[in-house]
Symmetry: D2
Subunit: 343 residues, 4 copies
């Protein structure tokens, strides 16, 4: 029998992708769709590109979620904690796409968000949902904090090198460009077509909250905690993140060391591939794949590693389903697309 | 009487902008348009958006350029040297938008281009056409090597800090995104709408020839030569470069030092402004302006400086006209737009 | 001395273009900027691409507009009537970019807008600001109703043929695509980058209020009133309207008749050109030009006429300045750009 | 056992989509990939977004196609006839995405293409592959001429009304906008990002070869042959066709008649839906669906019908697979996506 699935936050971009993936999943079935302002609307009115247009969206209320094995939460920051705890208490597994449970300590959380956490005892208890690095903690787990989109790309780019001790010094630089879907679906003047098309800008310089998540993630696979400088940019496209990462290497590190580190970590990962030319995000948009392209600069004794993901799939809904597959004892790859379309 | 101007390489994107700027210039007049494969065509067939559609393009032959005070060369790499020398010999001033005369030594040139220069004695004799830093060498000069688009943005971002001794260590990181016009007008499968739209990719990782130009430019205003890591990316838009630059600061450097350095260098520059929020390239597209936005990261003892220019104007044709104004004894700002349009 | 100009509705897209055009106009000077919700803001905060960033926006209050020769109103539908009448009463000429005074009778107005007009006696008194057809009514006038963007394109395409009696029967079809700036700057989910990019849709099918304006405009140059079917579409670009218009021709009409009609009407118009291949909107974006491209289909005894304009210039702010030039006794072309930029 | 499939013309856009669809098809298996200039390349080099990157492309030679049940031909105009006949002679079914066999008479073919057909006796023998209208001819057939993208949209929009006798007079107008992928993958200056982005233009006005195909298709479902005026436009997006079609209705036709006609024809079609608001192409991009949105204009006694398809799927590769499903006795819907993604 198929696992019964709820999506809370069904009306946003990540919610739409979760619905599409679950609808196509061989072992999952959508049992509940919950939304905030769009509760009461039909799916067709909210996501006209999906099947099952006459399905109705219910409220976000966890008590309305019945007979469900796992719930995906695709909610704004701060809105996940309450429903997550309520669902867990009712025996529903939770994969949270939000940032509420990603940071693993009160100190880190308060430094990033400038406010106390409503459930401080939970921090550190949620496996970080990057299966390539933390898959063993996810198998059978009842909860997972699905990583942010930018940290996913940065950790896939730098994690193997850092874990193998090939990087030292710093700060590391993570310079990312993202399609606009990462900024969400809510109407804002700054995200209008007229404001976005034909222009590029950085935002959140030095202050973006994905930076602590990157440092924590690297620390978790290495032996120290590096400092990261992170600058995200919005570019005029719908989807895709390309992160270009720079880090100094330890003395004596060679091209072979770099290759070996990536081979060690990604030899058997179904969604991450190391490629020999700089990837275009189009190559993986629409899929759960990540492409990683490393370069050793012997002149500056540094690496440049470029990583490409689809911010709504490997950076959100796809990775959440990958986590859920592990949490539910399914095949890690079930229901996840690996071929997109071009052009 | 207006100065008589030639544009060689009239059919490309930079050529089109040169024609538009000279047509609107109060003290310049177009006397000759030269093109390679498009010789014989009318301007209207080549640039349907410009005035004077019935003007005819002549050959690139310098001997056809008569009665001209200054020639702009907007030609592919390697194609400038011969016509430049021929024009200079005939008493025509030359502003070269190409890269033939930018590097200032045989060593640097051969390292970058892997081939000998046809006029090695010329290297080092061409003022580098970044008026904000080297304006005094350009006044009245008979030749100028107009900078590359990426170096213009990187030098405007890091030059003042490096000149004032606020940066040390390194390597510096210059991570740039560019509109596609920077790649030129010639038909290539990789530049088709189908290949570019909705995707982002890095290119020329560690090998782009604008990197030595950045290092040389910084060395020219400082006391040492820094190492730079440079990664350009193409994003799906027509115009604009945004360079996000990272560099470690010397001990004790404060926000006030950073501000003071930019104030010192840009207090009176008509086209460069320091801004307090990350600029969108749209704010300056269509103009000769550059916007620079510095941030000091006390946590990592580094700066992040974001710079925005229009790659075809301040990064090419606009800067060339700015140079030509100085070479011809005109007002530096004559004929150069400072307000664009949105959306 | 320069004519003193006010722009009411300075914060929108058309308002921004009006400011840019007046700033560059040899015979006009901006004396007042008024806005609704953005009153109190600086120009730099509202239009970061313009010069004079420290100019402050005042309220929309006509009483605040002093010492002004002419006011441009770039306000939402229904918001022009009151300030227009107040300004006229104070001796200020008014060029209204809105639709309040375009329709020339109470019947037409009420049919289109389903509500009574606040100043019904004014309807029919406002010259329709399409100088190519109605220029003589605009010279020295104290008021002008600047046409809608779609009607401008449709009337320039079909007007000469209809005026010369070459069209008969019908309905005529006007099928238009527009850049998104035509929908205004206010934040709406339907105009987000995520909603617009990579998709096309029709809107206002059979109900768009520019249709009556087209029929009225044709009737004004012809001897009957044709019926028009009009379908506008939004396409993912910032600017530009392309209208493809279809109409049956009268018996015996030849290619020479078609050519002669356009020659008669556009031989001396400074901004309208008849072209022999289908124009790309890029050729005229950023200018006040219109390109018209007629085809006679002998097989179906119909014409297809394609017309291209920049919806914010010839379709709004540029045409308003063209009208104002005539109203103020200036050269019709003063301050209006005729060369744009590509790419 | 799965049906063995060949794709000739594997390197183009339609070829890439055919490969993706067949790879995901439950009852088909790719047995051969053939290409012209890209023969010898790996699939990964040609379509980096697809799975099975190490598969090699062979030559177009029909003799190389062995053990195959059906071949898709995705070749330029004129290149299909020879391999199609050779494959049929070898017992391989052929679904031709090209235009070689679409027109059903020598007269029609020569009028459209101005040249004799190499196999004139074949004309009229190829079922026209629009399953919604001609499905019964496709079941079990050994050949099919898959319709052009524009005719698919126009016929789905007007076919039911014409078949039911609701339309009369004319000409009918088909005004279409298309994403750029319809123009193919070959490098051309006119299809560069710099030429396409931010602009719209008509092309092939009155001369496009899809017009005769529309007239023939309507004639095949009706009792007369209407005249069509067809204007295609390229808009800056990758995929999607939106056709806005205008036609006069017969006396007495009501809204109910219009609705009934569409209900009659599309009540059970799995891929065509009649919708009540104008569709955005994004709603169906990535799918084999078509959305049709009719409006009756009682004022002009005409209909406007808007139809949206993905030009590479329902307009090419998807429809080809739909045909192949019928030709091979499979379920018509097998392997065809009905949910896309947004944004």
């Amino acid at each position: 029998m198929k696992r019964q699935i709820a999506v809370l936050g069904a009306s946003g971009y990540a919610g739409g992708e979760l619905i599409r993936l679950v609808d196509d999943h061989p072992d999952m079935e959508l049992a509940y769709l919950g939304a905030h302002t769009k509760a009461g609307a039909t799916l067709g009115a909210v996501h006209p590109h999906l099947r099952g247009a006459d399905r109705e969206l219910g409220p976000l209320d966890p008590a309305a979620v019945r007979g469900v094995d796992l719930a995906f939460l695709a909610l704004p920051h701060g809105a996940s904690a309450e429903p997550a705890m309520a669902l867990l208490a009712r025996g529903v597994k939770v994969a949270d796409l939000g940032s509420d449970f990603r940071l693993d300590s009160v100190d880190r959380y308060e430094a990033a968000y400038g406010a106390p956490h409503p459930y401080p005892a939970e921090l550190g208890k949620w496996p970080y949902g990057l299966p390539e690095f933390f898959g063993k903690h996810l198998v059978g787990a009842d909860r997972a904090a699905v990583p942010g989109c930018y940290p996913t790309s940065a950790l896939l780019a730098l994690g193997p090198l850092f874990a193998e001790g090939l990087l030292e010094g710093g700060p590391f630089v993570v310079d990312s460009v993202s399609g606009v879907s990462g900024a969400g679906r809510g109407a804002k003047e700054s995200l209008m077509f007229g404001a976005i098309d034909e222009g590029v800008a950085a935002y959140g310089v030095l202050t973006h909250r994905h930076r602590p998540e990157m440092e924590q993630g690297l620390a978790a696979v290495g032996t120290t905690e590096p400092r990261v400088m992170f600058t995200p940019h919005l570019v005029p496209m719908q989807r895709g993140i390309l992160s270009t990462c720079y880090a100094p290497v330890a003395a004596g590190v060679t091209e072979m060391d770099v290759s070996a580190a990536f081979r060690t970590w990604y030899a058997t990962t179904p969604f991450v591939d190391v490629v020999s030319e700089p990837p275009n995000t189009r190559w993986i948009v629409g899929t759960n794949r990540a492409l990683v392209n490393p370069h050793l600069d012997t002149r500056t004794r540094s690496v440049v590693v470029v990583a490409a993901i689809d911010n709504l799939l490997k950076g959100a809904a796809g990775q959440a389903v990958q986590c859920a597959n592990l949490m539910l004892g399914l095949d890690e790859t079930a229901g996840l697309p690996t071929a997109g379309w071009m052009p």
